[in-house]
Each structure stands twice: as structure tokens, then as C-alpha cells.
Assembly symmetry: C2
């Protein structure tokens, strides 16, 4: 993603590449939550057979971006209020766990990388590109998971990140979600680079609570709009 990673250029299968394309399409809003994916159409669109496409679909299912019922079809995962709450509650637990692992592992490289990702986020906020903001925000939070040196945790965060990004992106597309507050991430980064663990833990709890509440507000607004 961000690291050059010399050995990165291994032979990639069609399915993996198509999965990337589909993921981008979902995050970009070309595929709105609830819409159905038809294999034949997508296969022709991507210029491949249904085999690789099916594999790509399977991969996105595991990432929680798609849901499938046998013999019926595949759809983009729908938003639900309890799902949001589950994501944020679990993310709170995991992010505290990640910070505990990474806490004594923070070095100059960690601090530099965190500041750089924060700068990238702030730059995106200035341009007003909301989608880029979401990506940068995810990227910023990813750092601690990468620094925790815990493969399994990183893998699970990947799944969570995908779901979260889907929700944030679709919420923005649906009702122009207001982007991440500048000050909110300032305090987060400050705590992450500081020396007080209790402050960091409190910051995570606060950060997650704000995110959860904000998202739930939009979901309720959408619900009322649908009911009306």
C-alpha cells in the first residue's frame, strides 16, 4: 500500500485485481449498498470470465463488503444501526489492544510516520475531497495496527477497516457527511505520541464514541427520511 515493498510484484491472479477494482467501485459509490451484482454483466465489463469474477466476489464477501445468498444473488452490504455499533465497540477494544502492544515499541520512525499521515489527512481536508479524507483517516489509524507486530490483529483490522470505510463512504454519498474534525485528530495524534497511557486510552474511547454517535445520527436521519 504505502511501503515500496521490494518483493511486492508477485504474479497476481485476475481475481485479486478485479477484487481491487470492485472494492474501489464500492467505496466510490458506483455500487451503492443494497444493489445487486450480476456476474455475467460484471464479467463482460471487466473482460474476464465468470470464474475469476466469482473469486473476486468471494473475497469481498469475506471482507464484509458483499453478502450472498445461494441461488439468489450477491448484493452490496446494507447498513444497519446495530452493525455500526458492533463495529465501533469492537474497534474500541482492538485499538486499545493494538496501542498496548505498540506502546513501548514507538520509535522515531513511528512518530515520523504518524505525523506524515496526519499531514496527509489535513491536506486532504483542505482540498475538500471527502473520499480522500476517509482513506487518509483509515490510513492514519492503520499505523498503530501495523506497529503492533501482530499478524492476526492486522488481518482482522483489515476486515474492520473495509466495513468502516464502506459505511463512511456511503453515508457521505447519501447525505454529505461532514468529514473528520481537525481538532479531533489533533488530540488523537498528540495522545498517540505522548507519554501517558491513561490519556491515550481515554482518547481512544472518546474518539470511538464520537465516531459512533455521529454515524448513528446520520443513520437515524436517513431512517426518518425513508419513513416520511
Amino acid at each position: 500500500m504505502s511501503v515500496p515493498a521490494v518483493g511486492k510484484l508477485q504474479k497476481q491472479t485476475f481475481g485479486a485485481r478485479i477484487a481491487d477494482e470492485l472494492r474501489k467501485a464500492i467505496f466510490a459509490g458506483d455500487l451503492v449498498p443494497g444493489s445487486a451484482l450480476i456476474e455475467t454483466a460484471l464479467a463482460e465489463q471487466f473482460g474476464v470470465s465468470r470464474g475469476p469474477l466469482r473469486e473476486a466476489i468471494r473475497q469481498l464477501i469475506d471482507e464484509g463488503l458483499l453478502v450472498q445468498v445461494p441461488f439468489s444473488g450477491t448484493r452490496v452490504t446494507e447498513l444497519s444501526e446495530i452493525a455500526i455499533r458492533e463495529i465501533y465497540s469492537l474497534r474500541t477494544t482492538l485499538e486499545i489492544f493494538a496501542f498496548r502492544l505498540a506502546w513501548d515499541r514507538r520509535d522515531a520512525g513511528f512518530r515520523a510516520e504518524m505525523l506524515q499521515r496526519q499531514q496527509a489527512l489535513l491536506a486532504a481536508i483542505d482540498t475538500g475531497d471527502e473520499m480522500e479524507c476517509i482513506r487518509r483517516e483509515m490510513h492514519l489509524h492503520s499505523l498503530v495496527y501495523e506497529a503492533a507486530d501482530h499478524q492476526l490483529l492486522l488481518e482482522i483490522w483489515g476486515g474492520l477497516k473495509g466495513r468502516l470505510q464502506l459505511y463512511l463512504a456511503s453515508n457521505y454519498l447519501a447525505h454529505g457527511r461532514h468529514g473528520p474534525r481537525r481538532t479531533g485528530h489533533d488530540s488523537f495524534v498528540a495522545a498517540a505520541l505522548g507519554d501517558s497511557w491513561p490519556v491515550m486510552e481515554a482518547e481512544i474511547l472518546q474518539h470511538m464514541r464520537l465516531g459512533s454517535e455521529e454515524t448513528e445520527r446520520f443513520l437515524k436521519a436517513r431512517k426518518e427520511k425513508v419513513d416520511a
Copy 2:
């Protein structure tokens, strides 16, 4: 699994059924960690085409039971000491989280179910069927995740459980792992049905520490045997 679940009898695809068979084969030791799976052979063995079989393989990859490198092949996941440590550390975090969610939700049904699963485990210990013991132990610990009413957590526990079961089963097959200690689970159940949250939290930490240490001992023993 344990609940009758009226609507459970939905049309099942070949891939899903084959995935179940493969999972059983792995847990039973018919497919030892590190061994390669050849698609054509397995497809013929199961009497299906390579399509559904590929889908089954993909599913087990997501569960962490298989690893695949493109154009090279698929193998049963190998054990590694750090992987074990990661599983136990993450499981500790998640199980504490699950208990916190389920703590005030425990009712008569919960207590009855837990006692029943404990009885089933004890019965399995008496028969000496180690594989059954492992399944029963997993089933016992699954209860709190089911009671937490958290879909995402339950899903992630499913993945963790699979990996854990793979490790326990292969360890037993490799060097006759000594089964779960009777007293260990007695104290676990007692704490889970008790009224003291600090006691429960300490019990989880202790339980995980014991399991982790025991497994690592066997891994080190195997390593020394291999080196010799």
C-alpha cells in the same frame, strides 16, 4: 450448530458442503499441516468439478486453515510459535470483551447451557476421546460469544476457533497432547457463573496463560525433535 434453528435447511451449495468435509478432514488429521492439496485429486475424490472445490478451498483459506500462493499451490496452515502466541493474546482480549458484554445478560438459560456443555466436556474426558474433548472445550467457550449478542464478534471468534482447533488437534496427533485439565475448567465455569467480575477477568487471563504455555511447550518439544 447447537440450536435446532428452524430455517437452517436452506439450499446448500456443493462448495459449502465440501468445505465442511475438508474441515473435518483437517481436524481429524487426515490432512496434516504443511501437506499440499491438489485440486484435481480432491475434486475426483469428492465427485465434483474443480469449481466448487476451489470455492471450498477459498472458504477454508479465509478461516485460516489453508494458505495459498498463486500458481504454486494450497497447503494446510503450518504451526508457528508466534502464531500461537498471537491467537492466545487476541483471544484473551476478545473473551474478556465477550464476557463484559454478556455479564449482565446471564440468565437461567445461560447457566443451564453452560453446565450442560461442561458436563459434555467431562463426559468426553472420561471416554478418553481427545478429539471429542477438543470439540467440547471449544463448544464450552463458544457459549459466552453466543451470549454476547454481537454478530461481528461471533464471526471473528469463528475464525479464531478454527485456527485454535487446528493447532490443538495437530498437537495432539503429533505428540499425544494431554487433554484439558478437569480442575482448570471447573474454576472457569465457577467464575463464569459467579458474581465477581474481577475474579472472572483473572480467570480468563490465567486460563489463556496456561493454554498458551502448554501449547508452546509442545511446539518447542517438536522443534527439538526435528533438530535432533
